[in-house]
Amino acid sequence: MDKLLIAKSEPLWNTDKRIISLIGGFIVLLFALPHFGLNSFYLHLMIMIFMHAVMAQSWNVIAGFSGQISLGHGAFFGIGAYATSFLYVQYGISPWISIFLGMIVSGIAAVLIGIPMLRLSGHYFAIATLLIGISFQIIFQRWEWVGAASGVWVPMTSEDSLLALQFHSSKMPYYYIFLVFFIITFYLVWLLSRSKLGYRLRAVRDDPQAALSLCINVSNYKIIAYVISAMIMAPMGSLFAQYILIIDPDRVFNIEISIIVLLITVLGGIGNVWGPIVGAAILIPISEYSRIYLGGTGGAVDLILYGLILMLICIFRPEGLISFFPKNILERKKQR
């Protein structure tokens, strides 16, 4: 009983002061970074890193925390992208509002997909989500109302407009918007990972039978994780759509989106809040640079590297690159 009380009174928030200041310093650095004279290519690189880190984090919530491998996560990205562009073009709704509409639609889609699908486990679920991801692409390619295969073109505003989320003179505003979303998402997922919900999700992942015997409703928790995950994914699609201003099914419902989130998370460290940052910070520059230097050859050199990296990680470091970091930084310090 005593031990139980001690365990209960042990603060979940106990993180080393140095680490808090380290993270704080890092955030300040990220905010200051554009003022060090980054050209637009580096800004773009950073934006892509933020975006993919958040997308990978979204995948991490469903795959890392609750253990369900979704291979069709690109669907929620596409829903988000279509929500903002389509609503803006058709009804003139500001992207700021439709980001949240996209999140809600995405969440509803996740419930509708999740209720039947999450009863499946393992390979069945993985293949089912793969098929659903492709189905979304096929449906949107042929859906006339949303522009079918040619997609949606967002008309450009004549000058920078915060309301329309369009900035043409500089990439700096996009940088800050993505950065803020990145920080908020990571903070929320960090909270989630330390909350009761987070621990229950991991219980569901590690031993569904035992979790069930502790009155944890396994399928409900899986659905909750799926919805959270979908709602993290959707805003990234929305912001991406406003960033490139033209979307089509081949771009935003592409199976490659579902693949890259998996790659980043597995490379960085699955089930770990920090994994997606590490993964994105390594993979995205590889992809962008190989596209610049080797892209002209017509081959998919970055994908060759991705495939190789993924296999090597699976063979030698299944916990991801984050496992190279000393453990005491990552986990809360043991109380003595």
């Binding site: 491998i69 069945y124 293949i127 098929l131 998996l262 050859t297 991705y306 296999m311 699976c314």
Partner: protein, 288 residues
Amino acid sequence: MTTEIILQAVVTGLMMGLIYALIAAGLSLIFGLMDIVNFAHGEHLMLSMFSSFWLWSLFGLDPIFSIPITILLMAFCGVLTHYFLIRYILKAKMLIQICATFGLSIFIRSIAQFLWTPDFRNIDKPFLEGRLEISGMFIGQPQLVASLICLVAFILLYLFVTRTETGLALQATAQDRHAAEILGIPSDKMFAIGWAIGLGCVGVAGGMMANYFFIFTDVGINFALFAFVAVALGGFGSIIGCLYAGIIIGLVESLGGLLIDPSFKLLYVFAIYLLVVIFRPQGLFGRY
């Protein structure tokens, strides 16, 4: 719509279904043996089609004669896959296993794209060409031969697995790896054999399809998806289930395309998968 058109669709679906069945049998065999879903199955199919193509283009060997070579090449490829990748992830978590074969699929596909560019190729003037007309129905000769050879290969596979000593050893390993090892069946070798046979099946299907299908680097994706569906429909690990499932899928694809809307062919097949796994997770002929 006359009955002839429907009959035509049925025959086309049947012929496609036999090919799906053989591809799925390879997947099912590997899954049944070691609980690993080969997400690179479509890429292996693509490789076998390219093998057929290059044998034709470099040495002038017609696909129908180069089939034994393609089978050997694919079997070798399977053994390589086992020894260089699968062996290391046998005891890993399922997530890692999925990611590893997924990584393999990305790797093979992009290497192929790098080497051969994403161009479409086809075999010019193959040995089998033209079509037969049987009471108003047109049946492509290469398709017919392909489906018949796939059926023969399927029967041979079934006989191999159920009648020969190696096949029984395979089954024993699939049922209980450790018990089989105690009885002196080397499981590592069995896994390698399983991969060789599984990809050998793909080699037959790919080699035959090279006759009449466009050959390009993404060709395998849809076939692999159909193979997943067939395996789930037939029951994971059941070889004979694959035959029925493959035929069902072929029929659904072809009749759905004819009766509803051809541009959503994939969706009908996907819908079957979802319905089956939700209402009957063990599949139609599953042993679980």
